[in-house]
Every structure is written in structure tokens, then in C-alpha cells.
Symmetry: C2
Subunit: 345 residues, 2 copies
């Protein structure tokens, strides 16, 4: 076990000064060809690697991005991470991940921890509880400190910084329009409570599509879920108690619960009821029937967020203009919403 080589040790070993070693390794012309070769050979032989921490301290840059997410066992967030990691790695950055578990306190704690020098900038998606409390002082603090922040997906309007979002309203509209095009007449929405920003927007998109087609919005056909853990029974009951031929759900989980409810009711998908949802994860592809979805392009969101952040970190302080990047969604039609009208002919 060799405890890690430093410049000082190389210097001592080769009987030169530390700075000579440093310069030689960085190919400085100040150093004679001979000593340079000797030092480089030695360094290579013993596999010298400069200490990142020392470099961070010296350069006042950690080359590390802090990522703070509400959860991770969720294809969408996992995809975002993969996207961020891809770009970060390519551009020479590491990624520290922290999970808030949707808790406000943990979000604040983690931010403080990371903000104390561990990272150069933040990418974060705010916790549900934070959105509910509407308390964003920890974000403001970090930003005031001069640390760049990029908000992803679950953003906060009143915070001024770069953002990467998808057009939730438009995505939802598109989904519901698809159901309408397929001949659905009574379309239900299974969504989240309004304080979840993306949930609210998707509910609005649902209403928008109906209005654009001169349909009335029937509030009894909108189910707003508070807690995903106990959502299944609620959804099954909701489906059982209401008449509908189309369902728009804000995520895959709600969709599958809805399909379960429909089956229990003795109806079938897509024969009797068409279903479409947000979040194109593994579940959608594998489910039988496979689920039609609105793809959120998580990887692209992640890549964009990382690029935005690193640009701001590395590019000269060109301007204070903050970007809000809207990543497009795409409609993916699968079995759960195949066209009704074809059955009629």
C-alpha cells in the first residue's frame, strides 16, 4: 500500500524543488529537456496524479456540479441524471447527487452542505413540500452568494435563474387532443394537487384542449391525487364510479392504476377506454397494453441543464440574461389509445 504520491515526494526523491517538478509535469519550457523527461518518467512510473482537493482550493473551482433531486427511483429523474452525468463527464465535471425525498428540511440542509465550497453550481428540482410551503429563501441565498443555479422540471417562477422545463400545458393539451381525435367523448383527468407546479400546468392543458374543442370541463371527471403512495385505491374507485371513454393521467403510475380500475369494471383498454399519460418510462413500453405517452425527454433536459450550468461557470460573465429552456415533448402512440373510430367501420 503506497499512500499517494505528491509533488513534494517526487521532488525529494529526485533532489529537485517542488516547483521544478510542477513545471516539468506541466511541460513548462523553463525546464530543461533532460530534467523534464526524468521527472515525467518518474511521475508516470509511480502513477502520479495531482490532488483534486488541492487544485480546487487553489483554483477556487471544484469542477463539481451539485444535483439535488426530490427522488430517484423514478425513471424520469433517473433519465435526467443520466443526461447530466453524460455532459458533465464530457466536460470534465463530477456530479454530487443529493436527495431531498421531497422534504423541505432535507433540501435546505443539503443545499447548505453543498454550497459550502463543495461545488461550483447547482442543478435542482424542488421538493414537493417546498412548493407547498412556497419558501425559497435557501435558493435565493445560494444565488445571492454568486453560485449559479439551474432549475429543472419543478421550477419556481419567482426565482431568477436559468431553467429547463418542458411545456407541460402544451404536452397535456396534445395528449388530450389525441384522445379527442381518437373519438373520445368523456375524458377524465387523473392529476396531482395544484401546488405541484407541473401537475397544475398539466391540468390546465387538459382543460385547454377540451375548451378548444368546445367541450365543457366536467370537474367531477378530474381526480387530484395528494399522495402517490395511496393513489391506487383512489383511482380504482374513481374509475369505477364515473363514466368515461378516455383518461389522461399525469404519470405512468396513475395510468396503470386507471387501467386496473377499468379492467375491474369489466371494460377494456383501448376498446372501451383510451388511456394516455405523461412520462415515457420503462413501464409504458413494457405494459400490456403498452401505454401511449407524452415523452418528457428527460435525458435531453439533463444534458441541457448541465450545458447551461457549465456554460455559465466557464464562459466570461457575458450577461445576466437568464435562459428558460423549453424542451419539446412528443406524442408517442402505443396500444392504450389506438383509434376508436376504426372499430366503428
Amino acid at each position: 500500500m503506497k499512500p499517494k504520491l505528491t509533488l513534494k515526494q517526487i521532488a525529494r526523491e529526485l533532489d529537485v524543488s517542488v516547483s521544478t517538478v510542477s513545471k516539468a509535469l506541466r511541460d513548462s519550457v523553463e525546464i530543461s529537456e533532460e530534467t523534464r523527461q526524468k521527472i515525467k518518467a518518474f511521475a508516470k512510473l509511480y502513477n502520479y496524479k495531482p490532488n483534486n482537493i488541492a487544485l480546487s482550493l487553489k483554483n477556487r473551482k471544484t469542477k463539481t456540479i451539485g444535483l439535488l433531486l426530490p427522488e430517484i427511483v423514478h425513471d424520469f429523474f433517473a433519465t435526467i441524471i443520466a443526461g447530466i452525468e453524460e455532459v458533465a463527464n464530457k466536460r470534465g465535471y463530477n456530479v454530487i447527487i443529493c436527495l431531498s425525498n421531497n422534504s423541505f428540511d432535507r433540501e435546505v440542509m443539503n443545499m447548505e452542505m453543498l454550497a459550502s465550497g463543495s461545488i461550483d453550481g447547482f442543478i435542482l428540482s424542488v421538493a414537493k413540500e417546498t412548493q407547498q410551503k412556497e419558501d425559497y429563501h435557501h435558493l435565493e441565498e445560494v444565488i445571492n452568494q454568486g453560485m449559479p443555479v439551474v432549475l429543472v422540471d419543478r421550477v419556481v417562477d419567482c426565482i431568477t435563474c436559468d431553467k429547463v422545463i418542458i411545456d407541460d400545458m402544451e404536452g397535456a393539451r396534445k395528449a388530450v387532443q389525441h384522445l379527442i381525435d381518437n373519438g373520445c367523448r368523456k375524458i377524465a383527468a387523473i392529476t396531482t394537487v395544484d401546488y405541484v407546479s407541473v401537475g397544475k400546468l398539466r391540468t390546465q392543458g387538459y382543460a385547454k384542449a377540451l375548451k378548444e374543442n368546445n367541450r365543457t370541463v366536467d370537474e367531477t371527471l378530474i381526480l387530484k391525487i395528494e399522495d402517490i403512495d395511496n393513489s391506487e385505491q383512489q383511482i380504482v374507485n374513481f374509475v369505477r364510479d364515473h363514466d368515461m371513454d378516455g383518461i389522461f393521467a399525469v404519470n405512468e403510475h396513475f395510468s396503470t392504476s386507471a387501467i386496473k380500475g377499468i379492467n375491474l369494471k369489466g371494460l377494456s383498454v383501448p376498446g372501451d377506454v383510451s388511456v394516455i399519460s405523461f412520462s415515457d418510462g420503462e413501464l409504458s413500453k413494457r405494459f400490456i397494453p403498452s401505454l401511449s405517452t407524452i415523452n418528457q425527454h428527460g435525458a435531453e433536459m439533463g444534458r441541457k441543464a448541465a450545458d447551461l450550468l457549465i456554460d455559465r461557470l466557464e464562459l466570461p460573465v457575458d450577461d445576466e440574461k437568464y435562459q428558460t429552456n423549453v424542451i419539446g415533448t412528443s406524442l408517442i402512440v402505443r396500444e392504450s389509445s389506438s383509434i376508436k373510430s376504426t372499430a366503428m367501420f
Copy 2:
């Protein structure tokens, strides 16, 4: 924008020396009550936080764990991360996550990067390509350097370090025994190529269960998948071309593809064919029919791995005894393998 307070600035501001400030903030008795209060008040007011990087350099400890995984868009790994993060956070550690994407080169690169001072220890699950090449010099190097490593799930026998695994063979045996108990007579296995350590072990467990019940192992009923991306068609064909009444799959994805194949064949699950698989993820719970599985307890594996690593980091170098922790699996019976014999009565 206030650019981050340091001891030096506080010292200058309050007209005392840096060391006085440092001591005061750490409640040293050497400092008079008066100055101590004054300094602490000032620090609090301007929200002073010691710089982590400087502390890391001084203490030669980063309080950070490096986590290197083959992939992340996968419930099992996501669960492991959640478990690690939980413990790390509780014990005051951060987690840097890197993804190898199952590539040997990226694994080596990432390890070198992190090993250069960024972290105190590693938790890793080796890439598929690495297992194929059987080249583990990067692991040995890091370990020789004196950095603790904990291998998780996809471990390497010939490397000496702490490990957290599940008893893949026993889990598989249990799964197949369950099918046998349910009255299955022709049980197929859908698994991975043998160089994937866990795949091989599960295949062995499958064979073991059959032998224990005096069944012969029919090699034609074993499908070994190389590449998961193109697995669906292979599996569907396999199911179509062979007669079977039970299927053991090494992961959820293979299971769902198998069920698709069975349906296409005009048969039903579990009526005609029972199905069980490894990995109790979201897919298993939501699928219709819900999938019977062998739960791998990813969160527990993560927690255990983190505890092992941090113990080794913090506890006195008690011994060089390395632990291999075996996390138990549990059989979760759901719809896809409900008992056949009941249907007979």
C-alpha cells in the same frame, strides 16, 4: 452578491487575528467570553460556513463517497443509490455518482478521476464489459493506494475487499422451487450470458432447484440473452418455439417480454404459464398481471454498503478482515404465479 465569507475577512473586519476567529467559532476556552460572543454573533449574522474544500485539504478527508454504477435508469440501481444516500447523509457524507454505462474505459476513467483526492472511499458495481474482460487492475490499484472499496451486487471474487451481495443462486432456487410447488412441469429460464456474474449464479440456482426435485435440466429451455436492447424479439420467439408451463426470468424486463410472447401464443399468465422473476421494481407491482418476484432489497444493500464503507473509514484500523455481506432475498408472490393446482379442483 456577497462572494462568500472567510475567516480572514471576519478577522479583518473585527480587527482580531484569524486564529482567534477560528478558535472562537469552535468554542475554545482560550478565548474570552466577550470576544467569543462578538465573533460568533458576527459569523452568524453574515452566515459564515467553513469552506469544505479547505477542510478536506487540511484533514485529508473529503467526507465524500464515490459511487460508480453501470447504469441508473433501472429501479434496482436507483434503489441502491437511495439506500446509500440515506446512510451517507445521516453520517455526514456526500455521494458523488458516476456512471460507467457498462463500459470498461469509462469505469477506469471515472475511478482515476475520483481516486485523485475527491473521495474517501468507493462503492461500486462493476460494468458488464469489465466482467467480460476480467481486467480488474484499476480496482487493485485503488485498493493498493489504501482507499477502501466496497463492491455491490456485481462483485469480483478475486478482489479482496468488502462486498455486499445477495445470494443469487439461492434466490433463483427459491423462485424455481416456487414454480415447482405450484405444479409447473416444464420450466424455462430466461437469463443473461454467463460472464455476468449474477446471471450465471441465477442460472445455476435454476438448475439446482430442478435437480433437487429430480428433474432434468433441459438446455433447450434456457435462453441466454447477450444484449438487453434487442431482447424482446428473441424472447418472444423463444417462448413461441418451446413448450413450457413455467418461466423463471432474471429480471422484470425479460418477464414482461415473456408474458407478451405467451399472450401472442394465445396462452395466458398464470392460467397456462406461471412467471416469476428477479428484481422487485415498479414494473412488477404495476404490471397486469402483477409479477411474482424475488426481491433484492436494493435499499438495504445500499445502506449496508454505505455503513461498511464509512465504518472502515472512521473506525480504527481494527483488522484487515474483509466482510462479504449477503443480503437475504424474499419471495413475493403475486398474480403471475398463482397456484395452478387450485384450478384443477
